[in-house]
Each structure stands twice: as C-alpha cells, then as structure tokens.
Amino acid sequence: MSATLSVYRRWIRDRRLSTVSWTLGIVVIIVATAAFYPSLGSTTASIADGSDSGEAMSSLLGLSSGIDPSTPLGYLWISLYANIVPWTLMALGVALGTAAIASDEDTGALEYLLSGPVTRTQVAFARFAAAVSVLLLVSFLSGLSMVLSLPFFDLTESVTTTAPDGSSTTAPGATVGDIATGTFSSFAVALGLTGIAFLIGAATGRKGITLGGASAVGIGGYVLYTLSSMTSSLDFLTWLSPWRWYVDDVMLINGLTWDVTLPFITATLCLLIGWQAFLHRDLQSS
C-alpha cells in the first residue's frame, strides 16, 4: 500500500467515532425537523407573507426568493437547507479542515509522521482528500436520512393553495432529486470552508488560529450577506460570501446552477496554496 493511501486511511480511521457522532447529530435534526412538517407547514406560511418581518429577517430565513414555506420544498428550505444543514456541514468542514494538518501539528503527532518515509506533499493531499471524503459521507448520509423521511411526513405530497382571487397553484412534493440537489449544494458550501480551514492550518500549523480564522470567515460571510440586505452600500462585498449564491440560487428548489462550482474552485485554490505554504515553512513544535 502506498504511503499516501496509508495516511488517507489512517486519518479517516482516527475519525470514526467523531464521524459517527456528527452523522447521528445531523440525522436526528433532519428527521425531527421533517417530522414537524405536517403540523408546522401552515404556521411557517404566516411568516412568508412578510407582514411582520423585514428584509434582513427574510434574508436570514432564506426567504428572499419568495418561497412558500407551506409547501414541502419551501418548508425544507426554510427549516433545514437555508440554515441548519449548511451550518452543521460547515462546522464539520471547519473541524475537518483544521484536523487535516493544524491539530496534529499542534500536538506534535504530525512531526512524528513526517520523520518516516512520507513527504509533506503526500500528507497534505492525502489528508485533504480524507477530509473531503468524510464531509461527503456525512452529507450523503444526511441526504439519505432526508429521502427516507419524506414519505413518512407527507413531504412527497403536492400542496394546492388557493389565492383570495380564487386562483389556485399546486406545488409538487419533494423528490429524491430535490434532496440530492439541496444536499449537494450544502456540501459544496461546506467544502469551500473546509478548504479555507485547510489553507489556514497548512499555512500556520496552529489549531487555535485555524479554528478561529475559518469560523470567522464562515460567520463573517453570513453577517455580511444579511447586512447587505439592509444596506445596499455593502453589496459589493457580498461576493466574498458563499451565502450570496447559496441563498439567492435556492438550489433545493430551483436546481443546480453554475454557482455551485465556486466553492469547488475555492477549495482547489486553498489546497494548492496551502500545500505550497506547508512545503516551504518550518513545522511548529508542540
């Protein structure tokens, strides 16, 4: 077995327990939220009319596209895919990106690994791949739990609403394709932050700086996006925020757009820059 594959497998193996914990946590949240749809779908509709909520609140809830939360997909978007799912996956991404290099370097474990016949390049690429694999696995299992929950909580049923003028519209129920698209876009937004955490960790070798820096980027991007809803003067800055395309595009409902490639480009750039920084610096002593 090549050294790269050994490092990849060992890193994932060392994270079995935490991966199971993250998966259970997100699955419980998803199933519990889905279970409330039959009783809460109509309640959330009152928020959707916008009478008691401003622009920022709508933006916060992912309602900027005029989504009807009483429909299955609208409910899943407002209650899960506009916030909880991407936030949870982003938190996992930050943890994984930090663990790839910075955590082990902070304790001295990375130094010992590099005393053997393994190169820094092998470690960087194997661990980045392992971090993405774990993130992908947890994302997949979260999506799978959602798909399996759909028929139990009426989320596959279409919903017909009648407007005051007598016209009616029918919204389709959620499909496997919708959930796959929504999950994939959530995975993508988390992947970008995983890349940023990897980059900071590879460049500094410090766990605290990496956790703090990557979290600040994630939270800062969100704050920037919600503030831009209140004042257009900040709008030019929102291109830095993944929430701009994630919330505006609503891929769970509207399908994939090319914007989904942005976090992949971000992660790839972070990998390459982080790898070079890692190659050319001193390892931190524990």
Binding site: M1, L114, G116, V118, T119, S286
Partner: protein, 296 residues
C-alpha cells in the same frame, strides 16, 4: 570512513535568537555520538533540522549521504522525539502497524521481541499511557525496523533505572550490529557506556568535541583530610598534583589532577587523622566543562 551525519555551518536563527550557530559536525558510520547540552542549548533544534522539520537559516546538513527531506533516506532512520505524541485513538499496536507499515523493511518479530523486552501492553491507547510507557512505545518505534541511523532525543527521559539499563543494552547491541547512533542528552552518565564521542553544545554552539576516553581524563579526584588542629591551605600549595585547596574547619579539601603519593606523604607529615576520597562523576565534569566555556 563515510559520514552518516554531516553538517556544515548549520545555523537556525529566530529573530535575534541563534538556536544553532554555525554547527560543523561529522558523525561517522557505526559511531555513537552523544550530543550533550543544557536545556534550550540547541540539541533538539539540531535534530529537527536534520530531519527537515525545520529549515536552516544558514548552512546545510546531510543524513546517510542524502537529504533529511528525502523519504528514501528517512526510511533508513529511526527517530525518537523528545516528547512522543501520537493521534488520540492510536494504541501501541496501531502505532507499530501504521508507522512500521510505512517503511519497507518492517519485521514483526523484532517488534514483538522489543515489546516483550520493555514489558509494554500494546493494546492501550498511547495517550492513556504514563510518560515512561509512552517512552517505551517511542523506543520500540525507533528500533523496530533495524534502522541504519538512530536519532534519539533525550532517549531515557522518563524511564526508570531498570529500563534505562535495558535501553543501554539495546543501544550497545545495535551499535555492535553496525548502526550509527546520534543521541542528545543533558545527563552525561547516561551516555557513558555507549558513546564513542561527545559533543558539547552551549547556546547553539558546538563548544567542545572529545572522545569518551578524553572526557574521563578530565576527571579530578577530591581528597579530604581531617586534622586535630586547623592546618593552613598553603601547607599543600607546593605539591604538584594539587589543583586547589579549600579549608572547612579542621578539614582541608584538595582537588587533584595527578598522582596522590606526594599528597599522602605531606598529609602524613602533617599528622592527618582522617582521609576521605571522592571522584567527580561525569555530570560534574559536564558542568565544569560548560562552566569553563561560558566563562571563556
């Protein structure tokens, strides 16, 4: 004889601090070289530069004729860090399998015999082990692939006296098999049995290099004579082998660097009623050498 380790003007500087300063070092194949110095003198920094964990700000180094950054070279090196840290969930056995598997010449029978020899339970997570047991894991990891070169940073730190002796036996065996050993320590007695040469490092500079035989010759003997009445130190001043005399009540303490016959004869003439002898241990010599270098 080809060099297993060679450094030329090796320097590591952080800001104003020169952790290692123009280090020229040659360790020949099959040699056991002890790198001695106080805490913070630059021993571990040198080891970390040899293995390419940190990059020199000046000079260069070679291991086994190549670079410490070359994985093929590192495959032939066994390393024990000053403080072994492994992933939290890893047991001793996991560590042996994983790190041993990364090297081309893993031999499980060597590993098993070392586990038995050091009396280690390999099924427990390394993070839960005591300092001494973690040290055992590190030693087994360093030795289990029969490396050509051993780089050992404070190898006996945390080991009890019985295990220290076991470690020295193991080191002597590997040396007899032809392995090159480079170890750091701040305890000279710990390396006395196995080291061929000693390098003293102080404030990043290699201040003295000598063979162990030369080191032993630096040993001075102290003799204390007790008298019924106080005797002035000047009574021994003209005896050639006396390096120094101090008075302690009715006792005179003499440091000798030569034959004792003339000293004993003079003490008899002065009616000494008691005599005690003591030879400085290696650690005292170490302190004396470093003190001398610091003063110069």
């Amino acid at each position: 004889m080809p060099a297993a380790i060679e450094t030329r003007n090796l320097t590591k500087q952080w800001g104003d601090l020169k952790a290692v300063d123009k280090l020229d070092l040659v360790v020949n194949e099959g040699e056991c070289y002890a790198f001695l110095g106080r805490n913070g003198s630059g021993k571990s920094t040198t080891a970390r530069m040899l293995l390419d964990f940190i990059r020199p700000t000046g000079g260069s180094s070679e291991l086994l004729g190549g670079s410490g950054s070359d994985p093929d070279i590192r495959a032939r090196v066994g390393y024990l860090p000053g403080d072994l840290n492994l992933p939290r969930t890893m047991t001793g056995r996991d560590a042996f399998n994983y790190f041993g598997g990364l090297r081309p010449s893993g031999e499980s029978d060597v590993r098993d015999s070392l586990v038995e020899r050091f009396g280690l339970d390999p099924t427990r997570p390394v993070r839960e082990l005591s300092t001494g047991n973690r040290r055992k894991v590190g030693l087994i990891l360093a030795f289990m692939n029969n490396p050509e070169l051993l780089i050992l940073d404070e190898p006996t730190s945390g080991l009890d006296p019985v295990l220290q002796e076991e470690f020295r036996d193991l080191l002597a065996e590997r040396k007899a098999d032809g392995a090159t050993i480079w170890l750091t320590s701040h305890v000279m007695a710990e390396v006395a049995r196995v080291a061929d040469r000693v390098g003293l490092i102080n404030e990043g500079k290699l201040v003295k290099e000598l063979t162990f035989e030369e080191l032993r010759h630096q040993a001075t003997t102290e003799i204390t004579f007790g008298f019924a009445e106080p005797v002035p130190p000047s009574a021994f001043e003209d005896v050639t082998s006396v390096a120094a005399v101090t008075q302690d009540g009715v006792d005179l303490v003499l440091s000798l660097n030569g034959p004792v016959g003339a000293v004993l004869k003079r003490a008899a003439e002065l009616d000494a009623i008691r005599v005690e002898t003591e030879q400085n241990d290696l650690d005292t010599i170490f302190i004396q050498l470093l003190s001398g270098e610091e003063q110069s």
